[in-house]
Symmetry: C3
Subunit: 300 residues, 3 copies
Amino acid sequence: MAAALRRLSRCGVAGFLPQVFSANRHGPRMLPHLVCQKISTSSKIKVDLDQSTGVAVMWMQSPPVNSLTMELLTEFTTTLENLEMDKSCRGVIITSSLPRIFSAGLDILEMYQTSPEHCGEFWKAVQELWLKLYGSNLATIAAINGSSPAGGCLVSIACDYRIMADDPRYSIGLNETLLGIVAPYWFKDTMANTVGHRTTELALGLGLLYSAPEALKIGLVDKLVPEDQVVNTATLTMAKWLAIDEHARQVTKSMMRKPTVDKLLSNREADVHNFVSFITKDSVQKSLGMYLKMLKNRKA
Amino acid sequence: MAAALRRLSRCGVAGFLPQVFSANRHGPRMLPHLVCQKISTSSKIKVDLDQSTGVAVMWMQSPPVNSLTMELLTEFTTTLENLEMDKSCRGVIITSSLPRIFSAGLDILEMYQTSPEHCGEFWKAVQELWLKLYGSNLATIAAINGSSPAGGCLVSIACDYRIMADDPRYSIGLNETLLGIVAPYWFKDTMANTVGHRTTELALGLGLLYSAPEALKIGLVDKLVPEDQVVNTATLTMAKWLAIDEHARQVTKSMMRKPTVDKLLSNREADVHNFVSFITKDSVQKSLGMYLKMLKNRKA
Amino acid sequence: MAAALRRLSRCGVAGFLPQVFSANRHGPRMLPHLVCQKISTSSKIKVDLDQSTGVAVMWMQSPPVNSLTMELLTEFTTTLENLEMDKSCRGVIITSSLPRIFSAGLDILEMYQTSPEHCGEFWKAVQELWLKLYGSNLATIAAINGSSPAGGCLVSIACDYRIMADDPRYSIGLNETLLGIVAPYWFKDTMANTVGHRTTELALGLGLLYSAPEALKIGLVDKLVPEDQVVNTATLTMAKWLAIDEHARQVTKSMMRKPTVDKLLSNREADVHNFVSFITKDSVQKSLGMYLKMLKNRKA
């Protein structure tokens, strides 16, 4: 069954947002026009770096829904590290090249019926992405051009700024409890740093997904624009961040975020251990299995 | 005098909200219709547990204003512990069976002209209630069908969710400074976890009581409904909480609240000591005496 | 150059808010009428203490823009300490006697082309003012009758309450990054205690200055009133704070603020060291120099 589901998942599951899989209700989506000096393309992430502005765009392009598999996580982190070391790059915009989805979050099949060792390696990769992104010296903007549940939300709130497509059919949130799993404390900290303790408590407790307008209202995203202007608006907004003195901006960002980053850094092994113990429980595996079956049925 | 005041208080003082004592302005209040499999009734709290849904309702019924006396505090905590151990119970709604008042808060007479020993025991009982309620594994909803000052507010904000009667004559807040006393740090932490640091600073510093609509606006309560629908709405809302996977919900709640709970747990003796030193000061006793005299005059 | 700039600055620069220097767009400003029992006047700060109410008004009067020079900082702190020890004083209102400006913040010339020793002494004076004001036992209200960037914002948010002139031309914020410098963690903590983590992150990262209406919206100030009513409204508001039991108010305030104060107290030397290392960097000195030149050009 796992293998069948795996194929299913990689073909469009990854869960969290069934409406993503329904027929194309939006019609063709126009991608914003891009003028770039250098284009480095890899399998799962396409990078456009405009060396005249110092702004890179990372396009997640892992169909059908940019599930954060081990492969995508690793490539994401590596790409970010390379941009971080590239002197010509000062800011990065993270977005999706797929229609209607930013990222569907962590790939459930990486943690369903896999070995504890694999779960541990997978979790380290999740930690690594967050540590690099939340603590990045680059200015970072999420151009959220589709739904962004769970891990997709984590990627978004780890950026400096969030611009989302103004469409109530798109939603964002840390909805882990809906799957019978738990957002760890550093997901929680990142969320609380964004929308405060109480909204986080309510959102995580009930596994709430917020529509784009609701997300704006609670401060989970910073701005809504029409879908075809998300990336362009991110580019314009990035110019404001890059107008700030580089050193002052980085020191300020580090002051705001270092305590949250350090909490995980001093505790990574225990966090991996907690995750593996939790996710490999029979009851949790059963919840994940039921969730995958539900998605399969819905799809059929 | 203390004895006379004691009788007065138990007949309707407990302070904080003089308008509570004025003539019945609301007319008869219809209690929502209840269908319950099991009803356990005790002197100060009536419990209705619907075993088909797993939802218990705790009705505080200590006339005239549900003052949190040692007796009510103890019964509250014991009732909650019993529900917590009852496998058929998964959520609890806390409400009042008295008209126009949820709870008037800590009974002043437990701390006015009583021995330091008594004050200390009383405070331990307050701590115990909060520790059990704020850290409860049950889903908890406050159905605030009347005013809820001071300790009444603490009970409310220790729940997972707050539904209040939509009546501007009802108010809620930690108004301790109005009596010349001080909300301790764990009251403050619970409030700050609900409405943030700044609103808490302002509210505690000025002893602010918020009307129901104001309370909604600052996030001190989550929803307003007509008075006769408060408990029913709580029941409907509870269904959403209980739809979440039990284990995931509990682990998530613990992650949000454990640091705040642990702060008191590691510091209970010192907190009792601080309270007793403060409350037994001549100046503080004098403030409480003046407050009680004011209430007596207002009543007469 | 430094000397020339010094003269320039003391004649109206101090930076941060170029529009302050443009011609008088507001016409004559009426100062509120004052009735005071005792008036102690010093060079940079005029103090009116009304002994019948216990309320002192501290008028910053250091033309052109109340730059926080070493001299003004020291006098501010000393004045506050004297009021704190004066039994007849229970509350203090901080305001400006200059048109259109509350305070332009730290005087850049105290940290531009001066010795590390001087920078260190200057920074200790900034710490001292904040420690005394944020931790004051007095009730404190900022009557912000003009723009209030950087250090002016710090003084404002260190008070218990903020009333600002309702004029969109006036702005307030911690805009340090605009000058290539960084607000230290205790500026950040004070801001986050006022408007929360996320708004602080955004504000500090982009060096945002909020117009009075925007500042009200995010909670950076508590109330807007017409400019000629700022001080009078502060006086009326102060009466509410002083109606609260003195001891209860002070203990509550200390509970809210002591953790933030203690963080700096246990770390003062390191904080001075960090500031001096940062501010004396060539790149930072260059940024300050460019900023001063820009102001000079704009003035000319």
